[in-house]
């Protein structure tokens, strides 16, 4: 994915994990902006209209589930694909993420090549 196709918004409250993902995405040629909570995520989405959102679901202030639901209800940003990042590979989590309006789902720890594939698929 080239930068011309837009930036990816990474929503992650854990600084270590966020820095690592920014580093990996940048290395892969993906431009990244960040948000540390659900509220900031919505603000960033409205301000920058990113090509895609990587959303940790367990967030302070406003959790990922709520942020995704609100994004889907907002006409200006409801089209932006969202990949949920959660800690557990359980079907219930997967289903609730998809039900909340996420387009894809990735379990932590992240399988990075797989994540890149998902980003690629959703953006193109």
């Amino acid at each position: 994915m080239s930068q011309a196709q837009g930036v990816v918004l990474l929503v992650e409250d854990n600084a270590l994990n966020r820095d690592m993902l920014v580093r990996r995405l940048t290395r892969a040629g993906v431009a990244v902006i960040c948000a540390g909570d659900g509220e900031a995520a919505l603000t960033q989405m409205r301000a920058h209209l990113p090509a895609l959102v990587l959303m940790d679901m367990n967030l302070p202030i406003k959790d990922g589930w709520t942020a995704v639901r609100e994004a889907r209800a907002d006409e200006t940003i409801c089209h932006i694909p969202i990949i949920a990042l959660t800690a557990h590979a359980m079907d219930t989590d997967r289903n609730s993420a998809l039900e909340a309006g996420c387009d894809e789902y990735a379990t932590k720890p992240i399988d990075f090549p797989e994540l890149l594939n998902k980003i690629q698929r959703l953006v193109n």
Binding site: E12, N14, L16, N17, D19, M20, L21, R23, R24, R27, N58, A87, H88, M90, K108, P109, I110, D111, F112, P113
Partner: protein, 484 residues
């Protein structure tokens, strides 16, 4: 959170244990870590410090953080592993354990992990030693490969870059190339591509070396013509086995190429020897049959044709040399075409005279028939030749033709330096004698040729002539034409 505290603690212990060697190596001032990897190492160690801090905590949020920190450690370890070509091998060596502790599925759990004790009790089958080019940008890897392969008496040449490898390949005869995929500059995939694009190097077996996470690229390399691959860190027995297989492939190829060269040489010889005298399809046929290469002498029945221009010697004395050559070339060129069209074998040109044979080296049922048809076509072509001569102000030519059927010895005659497929025998002399009495524009055939002909030719009155060396008279007939 379904992750229990105990489980996290267990993970934390494993991870801290796995990170310890990297911490130790990174703390050594003797080991330089260049940017940007230094940042990645620092971030990984910082994350490990956080694990140390949080591992005993019972706080729910801390437990959640731990999972994220594991993810960060794994991420940085993967980044470092991707960049291992730029890293000191002592650092690279610490990474697989970290990645395994985080049970990253793509990490090397490969043959390289087999310890010395577990190594399969395979005695490598004896193999011819070969010349191996080991291409790796890391000196430790080059040394390791050299050591392992030298044990089996292989000659190991090393190159530290794709550029150097390509240079060496240009000048050295290499049996197998061990090619690291990830190198700065010209990488393994590009070296492979250039080798496959080069006629001289195309057949040299290539074994790719890479990490497990580069599987996609390895598959691409196999599709691009790599023969095999090895995952790092590789097992010495596997390495030896792949090299042995590569050498064997190369030897087969070399033998095949040598055989092909031999064939080409004999084909060139045959074409050079016969190309001027035989029609192309006969040359092809000789080349197609293995026994065709041995054109030793053999006695065979052929129909011999001799022709000459009546009075040419006198004629040539009154013409400037350039005109003689022009006359001869026009005449002989046309006659050669007609003879080859009728699958005759031209034995030689003697000035204006042509000696051709039908029935050697390839025998056919209609040798005599073709010879007569050829003679008729040759006489018919004279009208055309004379029209061209007249237009150029050159004199008219009249050709006499003689045909005789008899046994001759056919084969390669001459010395090693100068040999040609030729004919010897009394029948040749008889033909020459018939040719002597053949008139301008005439085709005179011996009775032995007439016996071989189908009924469709009309012949003129029989004549008898005496030939030196035989008691009986030779009976000849002029060909008058073909009955439709």
């Amino acid at each position: 959170m379904t992750q229990s505290r105990n489980e996290n603690t267990r993970w934390a212990k494993r991870i801290l244990q796995a990170v310890a060697p990297l911490r130790a190596v990174a703390a050594r001032t003797s080991i330089a870590i260049d940017p940007p990897s230094d940042q990645d190492v620092a971030a990984l160690i910082e994350a490990a410090d956080r694990v140390e801090l949080l591992q005993a905590s019972t706080d729910r949020d801390d437990q959640h953080d731990l999972m994220n920190i594991f993810g960060a450690i794994r991420g940085y370890a993967e980044i470092l592993y991707e960049d291992r070509a730029l890293l000191h091998p002592a650092i690279v060596d610490t990474l697989p354990a970290i990645l395994r502790a985080l049970s990253a599925p793509e990490m090397p759990q490969d043959a390289g992990e087999i310890t010395a004790k577990q190594q399969p009790a395979v005695v490598p089958r004896s193999v011819e030693p070969g010349v191996i080019l080991a291409v790796d940008d890391m000196p430790e890897n080059r040394d390791l490969v050299s050591r392992l392969l030298s044990k089996y008496k292989h000659t190991v040449i090393t190159a530290e870059s794709g550029e150097e490898a390509l240079e060496l390949l240009d000048t050295l005869g290499v049996d197998v190339v061990l090619l690291d995929l990830m190198m700065p500059g010209i990488g393994g995939a590009e070296v492979l591509r250039r080798m496959k694009a080069n006629e001289q190097l195309r057949a040299t077996p290539v074994v790719m070396i890479s990490g497990r996470q580069d599987m996609d690229q390895i598959i691409a390399c196999i599709q691009a013509g790599a023969d095999d691959y090895l995952l790092k860190p590789f097992n010495p027995v596997l390495l030896q086995a792949r090299i042995a297989a590569g050498i064997e492939r190369k030897r087969w190829h070399d033998r095949e190429a040598q055989y092909r060269r031999q064939l080409e040489r004999s084909e060139k010889f045959i074409r050079a020897t016969f190309g001027r005298y035989l029609s192309d399809d006969i040359v092809d046929e000789i080349l197609a049959s293995p026994e065709g290469l041995e054109l030793g002498g053999d006695l065979r029945e052929v129909t011999i044709m001799m022709s000459d221009i009546r009075g040419f010697t006198t004629l040539s004395e009154h013409l400037p040399p350039q005109q003689v050559v022009r006359l001869l070339n026009r005449y002989l060129g046309r006659m050669t075409d007609i003879i080859l069209e009728h699958q005759g074998t031209i034995d030689e040109f003697l000035g204006d005279a042509v000696l051709a044979v039908f029935g050697a080296p390839r025998k056919a049922d209609d040798d005599a028939d073709r010879a007569v048809r050829c003679a008729i076509a040759m006489q018919a072509a004279m009208a055309e030749i004379n029209a061209a001569n007249e237009a150029d102000g050159l004199p008219r030519l009249d050709m006499a033709l003689a045909l005789n059927t008899g046994s001759v010895v056919a084969g390669n005659i001459g010395s090693e330096r100068r040999a040609k497929y030729g004919f010897v025998g009394h029948a040749m002399n008889v033909t020459s004698r018939i040719e002597d009495v053949s008139g301008p524009g005439e085709i005179l055939i011996s009775d032995s040729t007439l016996q071989k002909l189908p009924q469709r030719y009309s012949v003129g009155e029989r004549r008898s002539l005496s030939v030196k060396g035989i008691a009986e008279l030779v009976v000849v007939y002029p060909i008058l034409g073909v009955n439709q």
